[in-house]
């Protein structure tokens, strides 16, 4: 009986997701993107978030860094259910222009009913490639928290590499923005 309970608990935890520490220094994400971080970052893994990884400093309900590495043509973004996977709501295509990639990310970030307002979109060298940077505001539907976010990305060898960071606009976003800009500047793509 005890074994059964342990097994049930393990299955429950597995379904909820896992958390592990992100080591300071360079971290290889996927096969080709290296991200250099300092500070106390944690990597969360739970169903529905793939193909991104979620990293957080303050806890996932407060801030999150979405990490996309080597997203391939036709890959579905964050299928939150078998139905949305079947519908292919948001799919990366290798031919996407910058605006289309940002629109896709807007869709991903507002699929829960949250609002998304693009504040800035500009060219930006990311991972040594010709990329883009964008800023946005978002009202998170579930708790009405007003967030700010910044994203960076580039396509290389027909694969998408991107970082998107968001946190409450008061306190947390200003506290970490410069750290995120530093991380984005140091990204390398092999």
């Amino acid at each position: 009986m005890k074994n059964l309970l342990i097994l049930a608990l393990a299955m429950l935890l597995a379904a909820c997701g896992t958390v592990r520490k992100v080591e300071s220094g360079a971290n290889l994400v996927g096969e080709r993107m290296s991200i250099k971080v300092d500070g106390n970052w944690n990597h969360l893994d739970f169903p529905g978030i793939k193909p991104a990884q979620i990293w957080t400093m303050e806890g996932v309900t407060i801030d999150e860094l979405l990490v996309y590495s080597g997203i391939r043509d036709g890959q579905i973004m964050h299928p939150d259910s078998p139905a949305s996977e079947k519908r292919k709501d948001f799919v990366f295509r290798k031919t996407m222009q910058t605006e289309e990639i940002v629109s896709m990310l807007e869709g991903v970030l507002s699929r829960d009913g949250s609002t998304f307002k693009l504040r800035k979109l500009e060219p930006y060298p990311f991972g040594g490639r010709k990329g883009f940077r964008f800023e946005y505001e978002r009202v998170r539907k579930i708790d009405n928290v007003q967030m700010r976010g910044v994203g960076f990305g580039a396509i290389d060898k027909e694969e998408l590499f991107a970082l998107v960071y968001q946190a409450p606009r008061l306190t947390f976003f200003p506290r970490h923005q410069s750290r995120i800009e530093t991380i984005a500047k140091a990204v390398s793509i092999k």
Binding site: A83, R87, D89, F90, R93, T95, M96, Q97, T98, E99, E100, S103, M104, E106, G107, S110, R111, G113, T115, F116, L118, R119, K120, L121, E122, P123, F132, V139, K141, N144, Q146
Partner: protein
């Protein structure tokens, strides 16, 4: 005694069927209850009100609530005409969410989402939805549903003790709950039809709401609406609902749809609502909606621009050509939206039409110099000029 109870239950059942048919054969009449008093907090209904009061307090502060006094007053007045004596108890909240939804809580809080407002073609359609929600409110359906769920939850817990047979029993209990909800929807439809007729609106517009929604749901590849949306699990299947309402419309003819009044109060918000709509990524549904609005001639330049956006973002074979046509039509319209020129530029750039792309981008920046993507577009102009 048991036989008598069975007989009485059977009679009650027959009476409800007969009453239901009577709605279908003669123009419905409805006597609304008196205004509700706040229930005692110790009762289940009082608890439900208290919960909704807390929800309303949070909603009042929510940044997702539209702060558009003109539109809110307009919708509040409409609800008052429909709710008549209950007007002082109805409080409207327009919530910025692109899905189709409206709900009325037992304490009088009526939420309407902008995805629904975007889909309304006239005042009569909005009256149909609000009348339907007021129907739920007047019949106190949420309290009945709370009691039903509680009793079914108790039954489900007992059934859970009986293994597989119990699990099947639990499913039956759940299905019963859905059927109960569908009965409420039918009743609210009938009351809503009566209220809108009394307020001078054509009841046929309530059938049009469901007909339009059905068209959008069917646009999803290979899916019937009953399979594609959880809405239809608890609500009657749209064809049935549309047909019932069309039947009621024949019994209650006449009325004015208030199309111009509705357009006057919503036109300034369409751009924001359409931006939210296309972010849903449900391109097939959006195309049905936009094509319908273009055919109806409502804000055609804006609708054409957004249909172009949907085609461009979907990116299937031939979509860029369709996007091009819509952008061109929008740009040539009486009120061309500045981003239509950006759309022309993006498609032209992909096609390698450098001059055309550069001119369109320059026109976009002339019209919208502070656009959030101005720096990126400027970089395209530089690239195309080199």
């Amino acid at each position: 005694m048991k036989r008598r109870q069975l007989l009485a239950a059977g009679c009650a059942c027959c009476a409800s069927v007969i009453a239901g048919r009577a709605w279908g054969q003669a123009a419905p009449d409805y006597l609304a209850p008196q205004r509700f008093q706040r229930p005692d907090l110790t009762t289940d209904e009082g608890g439900l009100w208290a919960m909704m009061d807390r929800e309303e307090k949070a909603l009042r502060r929510s940044p997702l609530v539209l702060r558009d006094a003109k539109l809110t007053t307009y919708v509040q007045d409409l609800a008052c005409r429909l709710g008549a004596g209950h007007c002082p108890d109805i409080r409207i909240f327009l919530v910025r969410t692109p899905q189709f939804n409206a709900s009325m809580a037992p304490n009088g809080m009526l939420q309407i989402w902008t995805g629904l407002l975007l889909r309304m073609e006239n005042e009569a359609q909005l009256a149909a939805v609000i009348g339907h929600e007021i129907g739920h409110y007047l019949q106190r359906h949420s309290v009945e549903r709370l009691r039903d769920i509680k009793s079914r939850a108790a039954a489900g817990q007992v059934l859970a003790l009986f293994g597989l047979a119990g699990a099947i029993g639990q499913l039956a209990v759940l299905a019963g709950s859905f059927a109960y909800s569908r009965d409420h929807e039918h009743e609210a439809d009938r009351i809503g039809a009566y209220l809108m007729h009394r307020a001078g609106y054509p009841v046929a517009e309530s059938a049009a709401v469901w007909s339009n929604l059905l068209d959008e749901a069917r646009a999803r590849e290979g899916e019937e609406p009953s399979q594609s949306s959880p809405l239809f699990a608890t609500h009657p299947v749209p064809p049935e609902r549309r047909d019932n309402l069309a039947q009621l419309a024949k019994l209650m003819p006449g009325g004015s749809d208030g199309k111009d009044r509705y357009a006057e109060h919503t036109v300034h918000l369409l751009d924001e609502w359409l931006q939210d709509e296309i972010k849903r990524g449900q391109y097939a549904e959006s195309l049905v909606l936009l094509s319908r609005r273009i055919a109806a001639g409502s804000a055609p330049d804006l609708m054409r621009y957004y249909r172009g956006e949907v085609h461009r973002l979907r990116g299937m074979t031939g979509d860029h050509d369709l996007a091009w046509n819509d952008y061109q039509a929008a740009a040539a319209g009486a009120v061309p939206p500045p981003p239509a020129f950006r759309g022309i530029g993006l498609v032209a750039r992909q096609r390698g039409q450098k001059d055309e792309a550069r001119h369109a981008f320059a026109r976009y920046l002339d019209l919208a110099p502070d656009a959030p993507d101005a720096a990126l577009i400027q970089s395209y102009i530089t690239e195309l000029s080199s």
